[in-house]
Amino acid sequence: MSLLSVDELTVTFGGRGRKESRAVDGVSFEVDQGQVVGLVGESGCGKSVTSLALMGLLPHKGVKVGGRAEFDGTDLFTMSASARRDLRGSKMAMIFQDPLSSLNPVVPVGVQVTEILERHRRMKGEAARKEAAHLLDRVGIPDPTRRLKEYPHQLSGGMRQRALIAMAVACAPSLLIADEPTTALDVTIQAQILELLKELVDQEGTALLMITHDLGVVAGLCDQVNVLYAGKVVESAGRRELFAHPTHPYAHGLLGSIPRLDAPRGESLKPIRGSINDRIAWADGCAFAPRCDRYEMACLTGTPQLTEPRAAGHQARCVNPVLVDDAKAEEVPA
């Protein structure tokens, strides 16, 4: 059975006078032990909200969370707040996007690492400090004992992210959620960080929920990929399958919009028109329709359902999917 199974997760903001807006609209997916799952989509598609909902970090006021999310067989949304607290940081940990703002500027890095050890691993004083140093060392921060005493602003961007990762893996969690862990970093560092994550995941058998807009990252890491659009999963498939046969026009568009060095001369990029703001309500039809080259009147009649138009285990939410075999299959990174 799977480690995390999310079923019809919905997150609604507003209410109390303000006009409601649904950020996550019935998302379902699964993460198995040690598996790396990607949540892909442009900013605003609800992927970060999903992760926060799973971690229980959404503000209590003005937010409604619906659906089920089972972690290790227990429903996250019905368990007590304190039980959730115990879970957080120990069984399930998270890495955030902006390493600078995610670290407390006035508390030494060391303390920020040891505090989690004290909380979840009942470590004290010297022992905790040793372990913290060890962790920093493990995530590849040189001269850890000195760094422990330093403050975030004294560390480089990469090191900050490493420190955050060290905190996340401090208690060897079984699920690690990484929300755009590399976007704030420059390319060379990005690669290193991804390497680090991969390595940690492999060694510990930690499951990783990778949230990103960057298909490159997905290609590099994920086993299973879920493409989100306007709060709904529009396509879900194994990495190879997806890259080989993107079926939903959106996914197709995304892949088409990645620059590829090996692309034949003259073949130009095909960016997706418009922005996520020009959408229509799912209730009326496919939210992507306004940006879609392939839409039909059919697209505008009610919410399209997830189907398996192409292969088993390859779901797509489209009435007019892309089925013509194009030749990308070979170039899928192994």
Binding site: L57, F96, N104, V107, V111, R119, H120, Q154
Partner: protein, 334 residues
């Protein structure tokens, strides 16, 4: 750190010189002289002329200023025309009173204001929040002297819980070491004297505290609200830390930064509030003395005291900056 201190102290010198020049120009513009203040109804032109000559006030300003500078070099601040005593003695006599008053006031303001503002922010929109905010707003709008009179009327005159005026009860002949009544009592072991002094301080201090209190409450509240949704607080939550830790280490500590600065500025501004409070409780401090000095055209006192106040003000701000750099490592570095 040390360099900062030295630089600031050096900056003090031009400030004071400039100030002294301004003061002398101002004094020159002041109509009338000390003579008529000394003689009252008995003043006749001849007498006034004689006294002014005796005081060297018949000379042009620049001469007077030159003399002043010469005296300063000999560390002589001149003599009060009201009391015929050295300005320095008068200062030493009254400064402690105002300091005690201001300190207790700011102490009350912080001790009450910070928690109040904090909890107001925590349950924003709750009854505590509403009362705290509206209370602080009203607090700013009540003229200090009026508040002082009301407090005195209720607690000193009607209930008779606190003494209605002065610094010490009659007959408590406390031995004066530092001039700080409370401290002296402790030093000499005359705790009854300390106690008595404190009782005399409370009402004026509360009146004086009203505005700083209001400011601090609203400041703390605002800054806690701001810090609460900072990324690093979310990180802390993601670590599953105990609420208490999150609040104390991650929220409060950062929220205090702006408050510290505010406290410094407020302490400086208290001196002026003290003028009113001191005169309501005829509490012999520098504020009220300078006021009478202005009426009595007591030039030496005016120059001396105002320079002292300016100096104190600068020093307070220096202290604040130091304190700031202690709690905010980012400042410490550069």
């Amino acid at each position: 750190m040390l360099r900062l201190v030295v630089r600031r102290l050096l900056q003090l010198i031009p400030t004071l010189l400039g100030l002294s020049v301004l003061l002398f120009l101002w004094l020159d513009r002041l109509p009338g002289g000390p003579a008529s203040a000394i003689l009252g109804e008995k003043a006749t032109e001849a007498e006034v002329a004689r006294i002014n000559r005796a005081l060297g006030l018949d000379q042009p300003v620049y001469v007077q200023y030159w003399r002043f500078l010469k005296r300063i070099v000999e560390l002589d601040l001149g003599t009060s025309t009201q009391t015929g005593q050295p300005v320095w003695d008068e200062f030493v006599l009254r400064f402690p009173a105002t300091v005690e008053l201001s300190l207790l006031a700011i102490l009350i303001a912080v001790a009450v204001g910070v928690p109040l503002g904090y909890f107001a922010a925590r349950n924003r929109g709750g009854w505590l929040d509403v009362t705290a905010v509206s209370g602080s707003l009203v607090g700013i709008c009540i003229p200090v002297f009026f508040l002082a009179l009301i407090l005195k009327g209720i607690f000193a005159v009607n209930l008779g819980i606190f003494p209605s005026y002065g610094r010490q009860d009659t007959g408590i002949d406390a031995t004066s070491v530092t001039g700080f009544a409370v401290l002296d009592g402790v030093l000499t072991g005359e705790f009854d004297a300390s106690w008595d002094a404190i009782m005399h301080l409370i009402l004026p201090a509360v009146a004086l505290a009203s505005i700083p209190l209001a400011v601090i409450v609203r400041m703390t509240r605002a800054s806690v609200l701001e810090v609460q949704d900072e990324d690093y607080v979310r990180t802390a939550e993601a670590k599953g830390l105990k609420r208490s830790v999150v609040r104390s280490r991650h929220v409060l500590r950062n929220a205090m930064l702006p408050v510290v600065t505010a406290v410094g500025l407020l302490t400086g501004s208290l001196l002026s509030g003290a003028v009113l409070t001191e005169s309501v409780f005829s509490f012999g401090g520098i504020g009220s003395f300078i006021r009478t000095a202005i009426d009595a055209r007591d030039y030496p006192v005016l120059v001396g005291f105002i320079m002292f106040i300016a100096m104190v003000y600068v020093l307070i701000n220096l202290l604040v900056d130091l304190a700031y750099s202690l709690i905010d490592p980012r400042v410490r570095v550069h």
